[in-house]
Subunit: 211 residues, 2 copies
Amino acid sequence: MSGDIHDIRGLHVIVDGEHTLGRTHADVASAALRGGARVIQLRDKRLTVRELYPVALELRELTREHGAVFIVNDSVELALASGADGVHLGQGDMPADVARRLMGPDRIIGVSTHSVDEAMAAEQSGADYIGFGPMFVTATKDAGAAKGPEGLKLVRGCVRIPVVAIGGIKASNAKQVIDAGADGIAVITAVTAAEDVEAAAREIAGQFGVH
Amino acid sequence: MSGDIHDIRGLHVIVDGEHTLGRTHADVASAALRGGARVIQLRDKRLTVRELYPVALELRELTREHGAVFIVNDSVELALASGADGVHLGQGDMPADVARRLMGPDRIIGVSTHSVDEAMAAEQSGADYIGFGPMFVTATKDAGAAKGPEGLKLVRGCVRIPVVAIGGIKASNAKQVIDAGADGIAVITAVTAAEDVEAAAREIAGQFGVH
């Protein structure tokens, strides 16, 4: 399972330097991988592309060592330059079909969505998976009203590609999100801002049956 | 001459939606091209990649019709997606040698520089031309102390690739910049914020001997 870069089921840890309690991206990613993270996503809106490039190369190496997936947030060029497995696109980024032309058929393209319509449009445009949320109220990002496991169930029924739930998910509420049909769970602070990153990752990753 | 996309000698007009007196990027670019602009560069830090993409496609079409060169500022992915002739990189963008891997050998890579050292490093890293400035004091961008035509002459003597002067250049001081050895002159407001964009472009473009 860990050999298939298209298997993005399980725990996604979004590593954002703003939420690591001062630890490096690589330190946090490393610990999250030891804890069972399936996907590491690099996101850091404070840094320039120039600054992110060496960080991306480092995370590329780390994820490869763990047979995990490496995804870059927002930047198609950074994903390509660092040899990432894929890119995660928000509504302000390159459209998925245009990104596909640049990324080729074999890399992963994820798209953030917040409704059934957006989810179906993302699938239509060639996304390999969708992010969907926010599940719960969250302080990290203002992403609209909480959709909850019920909203996820609805979306899960409308698309065939994997759905990765995001927004306010932590160890204590992960189970209900997985039970609602989430193929993956993406977290930021629940793991990256934990004192023991590895243990925090393990506590969520362990809730996915086979992982 | 207008058939060679690598000939970037002449007037570069940087079209930034913030400085067009409310006119569209395409309207301003169109008029600048009629006035003899050799290169149109798209730069608009207020817009997302998603928003810039259709604008880039439009400018790509317009420049092609005029046998002119189209360059995208900052974004390698936007340059690739829109079929631009090249990208112009600042110090926070992708390093030129990394951009080259993504862009291939035939597209143009320009790099902003502000000293002889930066200019030589840019040439070393495979840039096709350098931007150099600021020539004069400018309100558009805080880019450090004015280098003047003397600074340009110095840089011109240290690199073999074309040097495009930028920063506070207008019709009344363009001649001294060209005389100091500038292969190109890049302007923003001197053309894009002029009431008559075409005439403003012509007044500067006309100062390059053969154009």
